[in-house]
Symmetry: C2
Subunit: 414 residues, 2 copies
């Protein structure tokens, strides 16, 4: 089955909104064996949307449209798609009652313009919207399908998951199984070099490398009649790649370095506190995002002012007056100081120059020291990150979490 994704919305053409729906749908469709050949964005314009639908359904079997189901005058997607198939729209009483209930639950009343959200072709299948006022719709004609979904991702995703995906699954007869291998600390072209022989002789599974921010992923994709068959094709290739990248391959599947490290801490009962200066709370925040972290995370100290480094972490005034806050010595004292507060197994610290100002020849913008205290022993690492203020902070945050993982691995903790 071949599908195309059409995003409807002038705000996307004007570059106001970042399109995340296409990314989500493409990923989902690939996972159920539906090939996505094109993705397009078109404005809130009837003529252009009709042209788009025509081109897409000439090439493919399914078109999924997101956006343009709202109550405003610009919202025309459902109307245009029905028109394309020659279907009339009729008022659906049940839909309207659902919309009324949604408003009453929030102590509000719908506006007149909300009524258009309750009109559907009788030939269509109405898809309930559990998170907003706009139901979606599946329309079919002559072996072609148009699926119409709302624009806001938090409404679109559950509607796709709960109603569209099961419907499509009934129509396919093979599956695509993917395995994503996550690599941190190695650049994309070096990754490709390392596995160039595997890439050149690939067939099923296919092998593709992707550079993400601060990490790379290798995606193995196998097509087979069953999940078991597909997994058998993937396993040997995965094993070979694991062998070549060793500890730089930190996880398989959809996860993040923060969640993987949080898991290690929780599973090994390693308590932790974090002292941050330039990263400003980002490291604490990323560990705290992990549900269950409360069993090990004691405190985060964002000691941005030097006064706070002294008062809260016991950093010595002498250190601050001689080598300064951005120094190996300060990073060490911060890590040990924060671990001392609640006698945690681990204390992390960051201190650096996030920019754009504050740099010098000796201590340039991007210079960051990490202190990593683990059960009595402290190491300090020094980096120079590039980028703007946010990027430097972000990279430092990712780095120190990975460095913690590698230090724990040296002690066989995983």
């Amino acid at each position: 089955m071949r599908a195309e994704i059409i995003t409807v919305g002038t705000e996307i053409l004007l570059g106001d909104i970042l399109n995340t729906n296409t990314h989500y749908l493409a990923n989902e469709l690939a996972s159920i064996g539906v090939d996505v050949y094109y993705q397009m964005t078109v404005g809130d314009n009837e003529k252009r949307l009709l042209e788009c639908l025509q081109e897409s359904l000439n090439r493919s079997d399914i078109v999924i449209c997101t956006g343009g189901l709202g109550p405003t005058e610009d919202d025309i997607t459902k109307e245009v798609c029905a028109k394309f198939f020659g279907y009339d729209l009729k008022f659906d009483e049940k839909c309207w009652n659902d919309i009324l209930k949604l408003f009453y639950r929030k102590d509000k009343v719908p506006t007149e313009n909300n009524k258009k959200q309750a009109y559907f072709p009788k030939e269509g299948i109405i898809l309930p919207n559990d998170y907003g006022t706009a139901p979606g719709c599946i329309m079919e004609k002559d072996n072609k399908m148009i699926v119409v979904l709302p624009g806001p991702p938090r409404e679109m995703k559950p509607m796709y998951d709960n109603y569209v995906r099961p419907y499509l699954l009934k129509k396919t007869d093979y599956i695509i199984e993917s395995r994503v291998l996550r690599i941190i600390g190695v650049g994309e072209s070096s990754i490709e070099e390392e596995i160039i022989d595997l890439i050149q002789k690939q067939s099923n599974p296919t092998i593709a490398t992707y550079a993400k921010d601060y990490e790379c992923t290798i995606r193995l994709t196998a097509k087979a009649k069953s999940k078991e068959e597909a997994e058998k094709l993937i396993e040997p290739v995965e094993a070979e790649i694991k062998c070549r990248f060793k500890e730089n391959l930190y996880a398989i599947g959809e996860t993040t370095i923060e969640d993987e490290v949080s898991k290690i801490l929780v599973n090994n009962d390693l308590t932790i506190s974090v002292a941050e200066s330039c990263t400003g709370g980002m490291v604490s925040s990323s560990l705290i995002n992990y549900p269950g972290i409360s069993s090990v995370f004691m405190e985060g100290c964002v000691t941005y002012a030097n006064e706070a480094k002294i008062k809260t972490l016991g950093v010595s005034e002498n250190t601050l007056n001689t080598v300064g806050a951005v120094s190996e010595e300060c990073a060490k004292e911060m890590a040990e100081g924060v671990a001392r507060r609640h006698n945690t197994n681990i204390g992390l610290s960051t201190t650096g120059i996030a920019g754009p100002g504050g740099g010098s020849e000796e201590k340039p913008v991007g210079l960051v020291y990490f202190g990593i205290y683990i059960n009595g022993k402290t190491i300090v690492k020094k980096y120079i990150f590039s980028g703007n203020r946010y990027t430097i902070r972000y990279r430092a945050c990712k780095s120190i979490i990975n460095d913690l993982r590698l230090e724990l691995l040296k002690n066989n903790i995983k």
Copy 2:
């Protein structure tokens, strides 16, 4: 001038990578008066890319392609675009030297496959890549233009800004001026209702509303011969909208609620410390992102464990044992406690249940209390946010920063 944006990359079709380039380019092109009619994504496939180029250049004057300029076997964009215009690729010595320099600076050597990045049509204009190995290219033929840019955003954006934008500006004869009004705390359909009369009679400027996460924007777009003329068209509409939304309109232009509030603190010399539990460092981190915040931000205390709330903020054990950490009383004590640490003008606190676990009938997931201490007076606010763990934390973070802004505004501080 009419443009289309083509993103080349199978990883986008498979939904592995989120496409942010199209968003960036669309925004930029709109700001210089170039209409974007279509945005498309196509895989690393010569046949489909050629079809795409054909369709697009039938409709429009300019195609901008991103992606597929790397050193790997999948990277074919430049080759295919040159083929489309019937141009041959020739090895460019200067390009190759630049690539060599880039590698040597990092103490590395290029691989054989990097050589293809130095091949260009002699008819083309080579665009230097100041952040990576792949230079871009502008090719023109018979009044049609193809611009080929690298995929990674941090390479693409500067190349567009420094080389493509000036080149395009020389070719247009009118400008589009946009003004973005930022509204927080009002839903999109309510916004449209409030200004429905203005929307219905719009012509130049056009008026469009966009729902972003936790805020909405109203974009006014005027087309004129000069910037001054365009601004004259926008001003009365902007004034009317400001009047209708009052303090819910928090800023004009590209900015964030965090940066606006950070500015207010710095400009008014209001020192601040922040105590966080469920938001985990997000509030501190978002204020610290503002360059210059060091003049007012003293400390962030992520007192995740109750032990830390007691030790660092002086929250009473009695409060924790009776009403618990997620309570009005605890929020108040946290805000006052954190302000006391360095005698700051302002102390903020968050305490709540981020989920997915931890909720009860009485204290559901999403319940968050804010403490806002300003110069001797503390108020507490209570919310119930919906969404997953990250969303609840994120919305709480945005909310408390806006609430601080509104409280300061009540005291005429802005």
